[in-house]
């Protein structure tokens, strides 16, 4: 089963922002917007909810901190206590540097990995790129199922240089 996505191509940042807002306000559902670089104000124009990536980062950071603390506590207090400079086996300040490093490492790597997975950017990904959106074109994709003919009219009216239909697996 496949469905048709409507694509409108634009040649400037202002037009794509304007058209994105217009398509949404006309009641059509956006599939996505593709731009060669991050366009300021796009989140707002698309009506996106705040990213959930921050929670991935927070969770991974907490996991890193917990793992680092538990590992150090287990190894230096339970499994193999060593007397280092007469300090107590459970010496909290000594555990902080490793916990800090693992918190940062887990948070950073997990966030990047989660982003790449969510955006389907990994080796073997079958995701196709629209022509020229990595170069000098901005593209709005309108989700299948909406009134595509009416949406096409809105895109044209807001300065689309070209429109097209692309079949996607639904």
């Amino acid at each position: 089963m496949s469905a048709s996505v409507l694509i409108g191509y634009f040649d400037s940042e202002e037009k794509v922002l304007d058209a994105t807002r217009a398509v949404r306000e006309a009641g059509h559902a956006l599939h996505d917007v593709y731009t060669p670089y991050a366009v300021h104000g796009m989140d707002d124009a698309m009506g996106l909810k705040p990213s959930r990536l921050t929670w991935v980062c927070f969770g991974a950071g907490l996991t890193g901190a917990t793992l680092a603390m538990s590992l150090q506590l287990y190894t230096s207090v339970v499994s193999w206590p060593l007397n280092v400079g007469g300090k107590p086996f459970n010496s909290f300040p000594a555990f902080i540097p490793v916990s800090f490093e693992l918190t940062v490492l887990f948070a950073a790597l997990t966030t990047v990995a989660a982003f790449l997975l969510r955006a389907k950017l990994f080796p073997g990904s079958k995701r196709a790129a629209l022509p020229r959106v990595t170069d000098d074109r901005f593209a709005i994709a309108v989700a299948p199922g909406t009134e595509l003919a009416a949406a096409e009219e809105v895109l044209r009216r807001h300065g689309a240089v070209e429109t097209a239909r692309v079949e996607v697996a639904s």
Binding site: H40, G41, T54, F58, G85, G86, P93, A94, I96, P97
Partner: protein, 399 residues
């Protein structure tokens, strides 16, 4: 807080923002009453009054210097986002010549505050007598005068070039400030180290820590970004800065968050090495601070300066909410005072000294002086630097 962009006012349309007479009168009364109380304290309890003067004098001088450092960092980075509120750090930097006075006032009373300045100490103390060539009152005073003169000169130059641009409208003035800032940052890095060692670390002349100045520098950055944020929000609320938008606040919030964490990193770097090595000549600094009357403020310091701000500023909406930023900035500024109080006061009051009359007098008195200088600077120059080539970029700032 408006998120849309307002038009810049026409060139040379206005003088500065008229800060309410009530605020100025309150600042004057605070300065007179606070400094007067400290003056009386000199006779009654000199160690405590002088400790308070040093703590508050240094705190507010750092806010003034922090304004100039903030500007210099932005200039050398060719940043444009801050231009809309650059008159605030400039007004802070105008406090530097005023802020020199409380510190210079300490010099004649050095023996009450500094162990090394007391007669007979250097000759009999084996660990100290080799430091006598450096730690003596005349040389201490000369160093202080030279450092303060250098800072007054540079902060004056940066602000003058910026104000001149309001009428001259030439890019050359921005370029000149970039060059001035680069030189200032290098010289400031060196002289600020010396100042932190001289004025604060030498309170305990047997003890030393090489990271001490950097740790103080992180406190300077954190507290001055907080003060800039507070001033920006208050001036916006008073209608003086309608162009300030949520994105400017968001970036200031990020800097508060980042510098608070830098402070924690450096605080801990100093603590960890001393705790680990456990050498008596180094632990002598922490032992009185971690026990007895100083124990509670010692742990509270980390909560106020890092733990609370870190948690409170972590979510994105928190950094975009002016009321929330005001609260966190207040916590961090209180934390900065406590941090300095913990550096200064235990040297002469090892059993503990809370937030008493003299401490409040110092904060209110020097704070009043700071407010007087800053409101005077705000009134004397237009709020929006109409001739700055980065102004348009700043008005459209969007994160």
């Amino acid at each position: 807080m408006s998120s849309h962009v307002h038009e810049a006012p026409p060139a040379g349309s206005s003088g500065g923002f008229e800060v309410g007479a009530g605020v100025r009168r309150a600042a004057l009364v605070a300065a007179v009453v606070g400094l007067g109380t400290l003056g009386a304290g000199l006779a009654l309890y000199p160690e405590r009054a002088l400790s308070s003067l040093l703590t508050s004098g240094f705190l507010f001088l750092c806010l003034g210097l922090g304004g100039a450092v903030f500007l210099a960092l932005m200039y050398v980075a060719n940043a444009g986002w801050f231009t809309v509120f650059k008159r605030i750090p400039e007004a802070f930097s105008a406090y530097v010549p005023w802020g020199a006075a409380p510190l210079l006032a300490l010099v004649p009373f050095a023996p009450k505050l500094y162990l090394w300045a007391r007669p007979g100490v250097m000759e009999t103390d084996h660990l100290l007598h080799k430091k006598a060539a450096f730690l003596n009152v005349p040389f201490f005073g000369i160093r202080m005068v030279l450092m303060l003169a250098l800072w007054v000169g540079f902060t004056w130059l940066l602000r003058r070039n910026s104000l001149k641009q309001d009428t001259e409208r030439t890019e050359a003035l921005t370029k000149r400030n970039v060059a001035t800032s680069a030189v200032f940052l290098v010289l400031f890095g060196l002289t600020f180290c010396l100042a932190a060692f001289d004025w604060l670390m030498s309170l305990e002349p047997h003890w030393f820590s090489t990271i001490y100045a950097l740790y103080n520098f992180a406190g300077l950055l954190s507290s001055s970004v907080c003060a800039i944020t507070v001033a920006a929000i208050l001036l916006h609320r008073a209608g003086a800065l309608p162009q300030l938008n949520t994105s400017h606040l968001h970036d200031l919030g990020k800097l508060m968050f980042g510098f608070a964490t830098l402070w924690a990193y450096l605080w801990f770097s100093q603590f960890l090495l001393i705790w680990y090595a456990n050498i008596p000549e180094e632990t002598a600094y922490f032992i009185p601070r971690m026990h007895g009357g100083w124990a509670v403020p010692f742990y509270l310091n980390i909560v106020l300066n890092w733990a609370l701000p870190f948690v409170l500023l972590l979510p994105r909406p928190a950094k975009r909410n002016p009321a929330h930023l005001l609260r966190v900035a207040a916590i961090l500024l209180a934390g900065r005072w406590l941090d300095l109080h913990l550096m200064v006061a235990p040297a002469n009051m090892p059993d503990g000294a809370g937030l008493g009359l003299y401490e409040l007098a110092g904060i209110v008195g020097v704070g009043g002086l700071f407010l007087l200088a800053v409101t005077r600077a705000v009134r004397s120059a237009p709020m929006i630097p109409a001739g700055d080539p980065y102004l348009v970029e700043s008005l459209h700032h969007h994160t």
